[in-house]
């Protein structure tokens, strides 16, 4: 196995959890999120000539690949379906308590997504990356391939729209901190 492969394995170990949870928060489906995580890394491998495989600095890039994959997940899954078909099935069923908690989390996540679905998709992407995933403006800009100012204006617009549509009660206030930068 070459150095690239080795580095790539480390990249997976370091960031698969972040990608997995990002995919879940955009889809409210754990098993789809798992498949999409594989797709994100397969895509990243395919495009490895475009990046240097090292360190934390790759996380925004991975979020960017994931965001692209999520924009048309059906096409993404189709493109990699032969590879996904070679995945072994889980050897044992999930631990039952864990599975029950996952079903609950999916239901909750569907409700959360419902509350932001009135936003344009690009505003949703910025909101999720900056607020839920905790990326900085510069990182989100790198992930989305847009100028930092665009991230800022989309986030401001998303906040304003949620505020107007009455989603600022309770927990949302803490979800939508005023811009401090």
């Amino acid at each position: 196995m070459g150095g690239d492969e080795h580095a790539f394995g480390e990249l997976f170990d370091r960031h698969a959890r972040a990608v997995y949870n990002y995919c879940f928060r955009r889809t409210a489906d754990w098993s789809v999120a798992e498949d999409l995580t594989s797709v994100v890394f397969l895509e990243t491998w395919r495009r490895r000539d475009q990046v240097r495989m090292n360190g934390d600095s790759l996380l925004p890039w991975l979020y960017g690949v994931a965001t692209n994959v999520l924009r048309n997940h059906r096409r993404s899954l189709r493109r990699h379906r032969d590879a996904l078909a070679r995945l072994p099935l889980p050897a044992t069923p999930d631990e039952t308590e864990d599975a029950a908690a996952r079903v609950d989390a999916e239901r909750r996540m569907r409700e959360v997504l419902e509350s932001i679905r009135s936003l344009p998709r690009r505003d949703q992407e910025v909101l999720v990356l900056c607020v839920w995933e905790g990326l900085g403006y510069a990182e989100a800009a790198e992930a989305l391939g847009v100028p930092v100012g665009t991230v800022r204006s989309r986030l401001a617009r998303a906040r304003e729209r949620l505020r107007r549509s009455g989603h600022t009660k309770g927990a949302t206030v803490s979800l939508l901190p005023e811009e401090t930068a």
């Binding site: 754990w30 050897a91 069923p93 999930d94």
Partner: protein, 368 residues
């Protein structure tokens, strides 16, 4: 807006399995033996679902080619269930009381593994204030685990399983659904309007029926309206009138999409809802559409003001800079139900939840 659930690791062993798979894919130069993933029909249905979703964007006014509603047999079961709901209502929990639901869940009977069974008890605050409580055993005869339920903040692992309820924790989910429409027509519109999950609307609407009824108190008139509305969802059929469902004889009413059949199970004699199942089903004949907003008799889209206070009235797409040409996200943009691998045998029960008992509890954690 509630908080997203806390991040989780992949299920046990999956990180390693995914990693190993990735390493093999990276190093495999020769394409491996191709495996057919989906029957052609199912694949076409995926595309059809995509097209139906795309149609939502334009305010659709055509009612032509709408698929028939649920099969006549399924509709009859739903109407009997609607009658039973009004004839034998459950007691309603009052503020300060708890809805108690005890159920038995079966998970993932894999090809060479027996299904695992767990018991589950929840106490949910009728007024949504303060925590809910989930007790679940780790399988037959296993020990019970505790989890406090709140959606207004994340709990640490210690807080979640502590003996005492955590502070500043509100369950917040609707428990007593006095917010739901009681008219079948409005309920039908409500189901389609509140169904966002990435599946075609006809599929997501049926899933929403189960999501809404699970571990909630739905007043009899709304429950009746829910069943009557479900009777109008296309692709819903009866597959089994004598299902052994945890020792009770059940009627399975469900809809198959992407290799999985979502079923609601009704008692074969009383027509009470007993629970739900997800079963592997390779039948790909159902072609959901449901892209159009259901029309009212006047021919206007039935965009009634939402009866759910949590849901904002639909908003118009914003004015956007010209570089943003993507579709408004009111289209289901989430994920479709993914087909299970062909390694799953037809009829495999992926998930089953049977309600054992529903009651009103005065005190959290105490079985009524």
């Amino acid at each position: 807006m509630n908080l997203p659930p806390e991040p989780r690791d992949m299920p046990a062993g999956r990180h390693a399995a995914r990693r190993a798979h990735l390493m093999r894919e990276m190093t495999a130069h020769a394409p491996m033996r191709r495996r057919r993933l989906l029957p052609i029909g199912a694949f076409t249905a995926v595309l059809a679902g995509g097209i139906a979703a795309a149609l939502v964007i334009a305010p659709a006014t055509s009612v032509g080619n709408r698929p028939p509603a649920a099969g006549a047999e399924a509709a009859e079961v739903f109407h009997r269930a609607a009658d039973a709901a009004e004839a034998n209502p459950d007691p309603a929990p009052r503020p300060g009381q708890f809805l108690y639901v005890e159920s038995r869940e079966v998970h993932a009977a894999a090809a060479d593994h027996p299904a695992s069974v767990s018991r589950r008890k929840v106490w949910l605050p009728a007024d949504r204030r303060g925590p809910g409580l989930l007790l679940s055993d780790m399988g037959e005869g296993g020990k019970w685990g505790r989890a406090w339920l709140c959606t207004n903040r994340e709990l640490s692992r210690e807080e979640s399983s502590a003996a005492r309820p955590p502070a500043r924790c509100d369950y917040h989910h609707p428990v007593v659904r006095t917010d739901l429409p009681t008219d079948p027509e409005r309920m039908h519109a409500w189901l389609y309007r509140n169904s966002r999950g990435g599946n075609p609307p006809d599929v997501q609407a049926f899933i929403t029926v189960g999501d809404t009824l699970r571990e909630a108190y739905v007043p009899p008139a709304a429950l009746s309206a829910m069943f009557k509305a479900a009777a109008r969802i296309p692709g819903v059929t009866v597959t089994d009138r004598a299902l052994d469902f945890g020792g009770r004889k059940g009627i399975a009413v469900g809809q198959t999409w992407q290799g999985v059949r979502h079923e609601l199970i009704f008692d074969a004699s009383t027509y009470r809802l007993l629970g739900e199942r997800q079963v592997v089903d390779h039948d790909a004949s159902f072609r959901p559409t449901g892209g159009a907003t259901p029309l009212s008799p006047s021919g206007e889209p039935t965009d009634l003001p939402s009866a759910d206070p949590r849901t904002p009235a639909p908003t118009l797409p914003p004015d956007r800079p010209s570089d943003e040409t993507d579709l408004p996200s009111a289209v289901p943009t989430g994920e479709p139900t993914m087909p299970p691998s062909n390694a799953w045998k037809e009829g495999t029960v992926l998930y089953q939840s049977a309600t054992v008992r529903t009651a009103v509890a005065e005190e959290i954690g105490r079985t009524p």
